[in-house]
Amino acid sequence: MEAKEKTREEVMAEREARKKAKQAKKKPKTQNDLVNDVKNSSKTDSIMKMSAPDGSVESSAPTVNSKCTSGSESRKSTVDFVQKKQSPSSKIDSAKPNPIPKAVTDCATPGIPLNIKFLHDAPIVNDQIDGCILKERQAFSGVCQQDINLLSKEMKKASLHYIEGLETAPKPAITSSKTVVQVSPPVSSKPLESSGEPTKSKAELKAERRAKQEAQRAAKAVSKAAPVKTAPAKASPKPVEMKPAKSAIKRPTAKSDSEAKSKSVTFAGSSTKQASQNKIKLFSHLYREKSINYKSILNSIDLHPAVVGLGVQYSNRVIVGSNARCVALLYVLKQMLSDYKTPAEKEFSRGFEAKLEPAVNYLNQCRPVSVSMTNALKHIKWHLTQLPNNITDAEARLKMSHVITTYIKEQIEVAGEAISLFVRKKIANGDVILTFGCSSLVERILKEAHEAGVDFSVVIIDSAPWFEGKEMLRRLVKAKIPCTYVLISAASFIMKQASKVLLGAHALLANGCVMSRSGTAMVALLANTANVPVLVCCETHKFSERVQTDAFVYNELGDPNELVSTASPLNGWESNNFLVPLSLVYDVTPPDLVTAVVTELAILPCTSVPVVLRIKPTESSA
């Protein structure tokens, strides 16, 4: 990204400008955003409050604010994204949750451009990241170190003030959104013209999302602040311990985790109770420290900037989908490789492995590493160990980048092609294929089958909170495949019409269970009840040796705030002791609900996973 370098200055300048124009700018934008007006009002409040203590903080406040407004709908769905991009003025319309028929017609309008490439599918990711790599390499390799120092200095200033101001609760809002801005400067400067440059739009998305997320949190904190403040005063059994001064400082904190900490200082008795009440006991092992300290991360020399960027993209759900995440990781690894120099008195492989570890840790912190990524990393690490000791850097780089390219090609692209061929034989004329959510592989299969002239229609089942099915719908309708879109609440009704169910998977476990986006198990169960064959499409690089019989042991928790819409009664759940929204990302489908798994090797029963793992080339298991 050459643009990144140039715009760094631009960003600074612009920020200056915005600082001045802040008041003027802020008001119209928040008014503009009628959809979230309730939230926004509190949002602005929170931002004003946050920006109050110091000037340097102020500089970042408008950035956050402006992004809040544009980013607030962007999370709703990608369909909305596209519409918004196309006509920013029609924000309000597009942001409204579409009723089903409307969604269909919306997507059917051929005018919707593909300028936002939502990273669900491998090929797109490839393009994007390819471009990203080429440009970013030039940009980063020379200046990255110096750059990071600069950035972090800047950030330190800002975030220090926060930490001083908010003390016990390090607010991630500003720090993180600043990071986003700095990692990809074009974000804040030209949000709309970025359509031509996919990486920019990507970065933009992530910034928007991040900002929105934080702003929402902040908003919630504020809305909560009043009850929190008053509630303990009235209800707390030990009002003696309460220190009003401290609680006032603490007020703007949003994170429940950090809140718990800060509270334990102030009123020890009730605070731990509150923290545990905002979590569900059964899933308490899954809650993670959400706030990532980007400051220290950008400061550390251990992490390649591309890795930092990738982490932000993961955590903001800009890159989602097992395949996309894996490909993105591999491309970033490639970039790391090309920028890596063996330190003195170290072997190439040892040195690089040492670099790899903090990167993986960081990515895992951003979002738990997927099975596909784990397997890819295993593969890469194995090849690293196979490198001869006396190999030169250039040779090693060449070799490893070849390994990565082959992996992407064989394990993802060619595998997808093979699976597509297998499934095509199973799709007959007149079939009604039912699918859930958005799987890049299923999309590819359906598109290719359609191109091959098979006459079938598709039913897409979708569910909250991400409504990924809308993206699927958009893509399939664009390919002129007749589609029906229903929410999961209507699944049992529509299941009678289906003749086959095609599902994607996050991972296939060794006991034959399918781990996939939550909701999949329900669809499979319904299909089983209706006697509809269920085909799970999954490349063998997603096969895992892990065994899991339920979705509790290992899972991922989504942001509970994503379940809370403005009008929802869940609003302000953080202050309600009796209310805990839970957003599970994955669920586990038992093997008896799945008729067959389509892999690149063959169509197999679920129970053959261990056999496939056994016959797979030794390196992956080594």
């Binding site: 199973k426 007959a428 064959p533 085909l535 067959a596 063959a602 169509i603 197999l604 029963p605 129970t607």
Partner: protein, 302 residues
Amino acid sequence: MNRNEVQQYFHGLLEKEKHMSAGIAAIKTLLKLLEHDKSETVQGLDSNLQAAIDVMRSFDMPVSAVASGCALFLRFITLAKLDFTTNFEECKDIMLHRGEVFLKKLLQARGKVAKQACAFIYDGSIVLTHSNSRAVLQTMIEAARANKRFEVYVTVSSIDNTGEEMRLALEKENVQCTLILDSAVGYVMESVDMVMVGAESVVESGGIINKIGSFTMAVCAQAMKKPFYVLTESFKFSRLYPLNQRDLPNEFKYLSSKLTTDLKKEHPFVDYTPPSYITLLFTDLGILTPSAVSDELIKLYL
């Protein structure tokens, strides 16, 4: 060997040797072809074999066993091709030799199956079987010769009433045998101890393709909680994954002469029994659960 010769030879085998399954006959035919083939290259041989397979598959009979036998044979040949070194003649010799070893093994398969399954027929048991399966017959003969006293219900198996042959063969061995109508399967199910059927072919899911009526029997057996055993040789394993009855290839379900007519009005010859209805499969590879079939197939083909 040209088309006609292949056809005649194959037909002759089926006519002459009643105990030979169609799959074995197909493999024998292919071996014969290999022996007499005059092609000079591996490719030429391949295309000749393929042509012969096409001839056999277009025979007016259910061909799933032929298909799996031929696939296995080709797989066998392609493996042999890899290690040929000097000339084609040598390669062909290797193939022929391997083919014979292979065939010998296959011919022993049914004996192995019978030996394993025989242990499951205990004194006083009542067995329900469907149509005329050679593996089941041999098992029962073996059990009878081991002086086990058991009773057999055999379905008539309409379309060709092959149940009659089964009854005759069993009565020859002094096994107490009752012929029942296909529609009486539900009626007798409560009084039997187990169900034993053969298979035309075993598919990758672990399910079987067998004479029409097997699926009905399997569903009944499961409803009445009776074990449903499948007795089959491993050369009937085929790389097919039917999802449901409709997904079965038409050439398996119907006679090849009827394929061009309106199939809705035709009666299918075979049905697919999904793995969830099968208790165990007795094969020459051992006694397998349905899920183990795919493992064996992966070992065989991948």
